[in-house]
């Protein structure tokens, strides 16, 4: 056997086949709920299992929008997630820069404090947060979700971005400042573009966390029109009935923005996570 053929066979068995198996295992649930979302309710449970939706129907999508108000849930989730991501990224860039570049009293303590916040389960601060927002008149208001999600995601994103800033030599900014840049300009024109993959990775982290957040959305909203997608999806599972078709259709809709975002930022994400992984 030729050496190249042998190499090819080895690569097929050690690389391509395992990758194909992993890909199939990962994609099968996606295929299954996509398939279920186009099935009629009565045929979802029928045996033998049908691997293609026969008869094909879009009723699940139609009823999801008409009777379950998914359009409202979708817009609410989109608003909360996008605004939260903007706030988190903007504040985390400034906080991350400060932690990375400046020496100040209690720096280690601040860093520790940021880490500690990540260890608190959300439910623990639910009641105090509810009381605060209630006094501020923010219950039943999507801004309460923006504020809480920004607060929850900010520490981790700040730590993450500070790692990326540390990877850029300060001499780069100094050179820009010698050439006449202000500090702010040198940060935003020189350093930020350099760490863009890291910023995108942090933004994606904040967006997905907010998009999937359930506990605060359920408890802070007492008006069905203000519910977000995760709460809307859980309404598909009744105590004694499960609308599998609607649930699958809702999941497809909920997944679309996340998929689109990840397709677009994939290249940044891999770079960002890889470079962030080696920073101290």
């Amino acid at each position: 056997m030729k050496r190249t053929t042998k190499k090819r066979i080895t690569k097929t068995f050690t690389c391509y086949i395992p990758l194909a198996i992993v890909t199939i295992i990962m994609l099968f649930p996606f295929y299954w709920f996509l398939n279920t979302s186009f099935k009629e309710q009565s045929s979802i449970m029928k045996l033998p299992i049908k691997y293609l939706p026969e008869p094909f129907t879009t009723d699940n999508y139609a009823s999801m929008l008409s009777s379950m108000g998914f359009d409202k849930y979708f817009l609410n989730s989109l608003f909360v997630s996008v605004v939260t991501t903007i706030f988190v990224v903007a504040i985390a860039i400034m906080g991350g820069y400060a932690i990375s570049r400046y020496k100040f009293k209690g720096k280690k303590f601040v860093f520790l404090l940021l880490l500690v916040t990540q260890m608190l389960p959300g439910v623990v601060i639910l009641v105090p947060l509810f009381t605060i927002f209630n006094n501020m008149g923010l219950i039943n208001n999507l801004w309460s979700l923006v504020i809480v999600n920004t607060t929850v995601n900010l520490p981790f994103c700040t730590i993450m971005i500070s790692g990326f800033f540390s990877g850029v030599s300060p001499t780069l900014e100094e050179a820009a400042q010698i050439d006449g840049c202000t500090i702010l300009k040198s940060v935003f024109k020189i350093v930020v573009p350099t760490i863009l993959p890291g910023i995108v990775a942090s933004g994606a982290f904040a967006f997905v966390n907010t998009w999937n957040e359930f506990v605060y959305s359920l408890n802070f909203m007492s008006d069905s029109d203000k519910f977000t997608l995760p709460v809307g999806l859980s309404l598909m599972k009744g105590e004694f009935t499960v609308n599998y078709g609607g649930l699958a259709a809702g999941t497809v809709v909920a997944l679309i923005p996340v998929l689109l975002i990840f397709c677009y930022i994939q290249k940044y994400l891999v770079q960002g996570l890889a470079s962030g992984a080696v920073k101290g």
Binding site: F130, N140, V231, N243
Partner: protein, 439 residues
């Protein structure tokens, strides 16, 4: 450059839409909306069907009572209690809310529910609401008072796939012996089909209790001294018999973690010919199997011909202690348990009504499934087992003690004797503590 502009416009529109949506909160004070008084109402199982039912019922109520406006919120059934607890802790409870029987005691003990005994006395249809359902509610509190009112009950019964049984020549088992024989005869693990789908996961208690108490022919958890009877050897024999369905492969391997949804899916897909569940599985069975392909029947009896089943499980409505509009809340509560509302709800949602005026309604008399429940309520061979809903530890017992215990028996990690002993000790301690604190 163009791309940047598009992104900016998109983000600005989202921000503006959100600001409008987010800041568009109601400016009225809680409890009033112009000339109308607001009644805030939360329902614990806000799916598409129940939301549509309440839309209709609320419109009817508002038409009859133009001075009120009802704000309805349907909640996810698996996390509704968390929402209630947050509202209680922050004093932002609704006026009226639905509540499941197993959660009533804990909320009464928190002082969250308002006593409605006096209000109930003035209800026009008070004589028509099932006394046994009212007693089940009174059992939930130390003072024996009413803290909620029932709308429907969910009796525990067996569901059988008659089409499949006809094909296989199977008959509905009348006794436990016949049931075990059917489980053995019609189990076909090679093809993944069985006679019975055992429930070993969340909510496994009711099926198991009905089986072992019927087998042991006992209908009380505690003896006169407050000791739990589960440590009696007859229960170990009963639990061994029940678990043997799993040990012998007469039910699917997944049964050990089956909750309601998985069990009903096994029944709906034809994997199992029979399941034990409450009456509320009807809607799901119609969806999965279609009308005419299944029926309901009493659970298999013991050698004495007796069936022991859990006492009237109810779903009710309560007025919160912190209600901002208690008067309106009580008015709406009266409407929710009235003939019109109960009849409409039970017909559309496939529930068993507890207002006896409904029994005369045409839909009820033509309903194929109701005669079994009527037989159950009136038969002398059916005994009811009062679950200790009054114990504050009951919910914890279900999730943290009973469920893992049953799974340990099914997986042969513990013996039935060991597990029953643990359960008996837990419940005896809780009961004695309860009796002591209420002396």
């Amino acid at each position: 450059m163009k791309k940047k502009k598009v992104v900016s416009i998109l983000l600005t529109s989202i921000m503006l839409t959100g600001m409008l949506a987010g800041c568009g909160g109601k400016s009225e004070e809680a409890g009033s909306s112009g000339d109308k008084q607001t009644i805030e109402f939360w329902y614990h199982d806000g799916n598409a069907n129940s939301n549509a039912i309440f839309e209709e019922l609320i419109a009817q109520f508002e038409k009859e009572n133009p001075e009120y406006e009802v704000e309805y919120v349907g909640l996810p059934s698996d996390s509704y209690l968390q929402k209630y607890n947050t509202a209680i802790a922050t004093n932002t409870v609704p006026d009226v809310a639905s509540i499941r029987d197993q959660d009533v005691s804990a909320l009464i003990n928190q002082g969250a529910l308002s006593c409605i005994d006096e209000d109930f006395e003035s209800f026009e249809e008070k004589e028509h609401i099932s006394e046994s359902a009212l007693n089940a509610i009174r059992n939930c509190s130390v003072d024996g008072k009413l803290y909620c009112l029932p709308q429907y009950t969910q009796p525990q019964i067996f569901w059988y796939n008659t089409t499949l049984m006809e094909e296989k020549g199977a008959e509905i088992p009348a006794t436990i012996d016949e049931f075990m024989e059917a489980c053995e005869t019609y189990a076909d693990p090679d093809n993944g089909t069985y006679f019975y789908s055992l429930r070993g996961g969340a909510g496994s208690l009711d099926n198991m209790l009905d089986f072992i108490f019927t087998y042991a022919n006992q209908d009380s958890f505690f003896d006169e001294e407050g000791n739990c009877v589960l440590s009696d050897p007859i229960f170990a024999e009963a639990l061994d018999t029940y678990a043997s369905i799993y040990w012998n492969g007469w039910t699917s391997k997944d049964s050990v973690s089956n909750s309601y949804k998985e069990m009903v899916a096994e029944f709906g897909s034809g994997t199992a010919m029979g399941i034990a569940n409450n009456s509320s599985a009807l809607a799901e069975n119609i969806n999965n199997l279609g009308e005419g392909n299944f029926t309901n029947a009493l659970a298999p009896a013991n050698e004495e011909g007796i069936v022991v089943t859990k006492d009237v499980p109810f779903m009710g409505y309560t007025v919160f202690e912190g209600a901002k509009n208690r008067e309106g809340g009580v008015k709406f509560l009266e409407f929710l348990v009235s003939h019109d509302a109960v009849s409409y709800f039970c017909e559309k949602d496939g529930r068993v009504p507890v207002n006896d005026l409904v029994y005369e309604d045409e839909w009820y008399q033509n309903n194929a499934y109701m005669p079994v429940y009527e037989e159950m309520m009136s038969s002398e061979t059916v005994k009811f087992l009062a679950r200790p809903l009054w114990l504050p530890e009951w919910s914890e017992f279900l999730s943290k003690v009973q469920e893992p215990g049953l799974q340990a028996v099914l997986m042969k990690e513990k013996t039935s004797e060991e597990v029953l002993q643990e359960w008996a000790e837990y419940l005896t301690n809780a009961q004695k503590e309860y009796l002591e604190s209420n002396k």
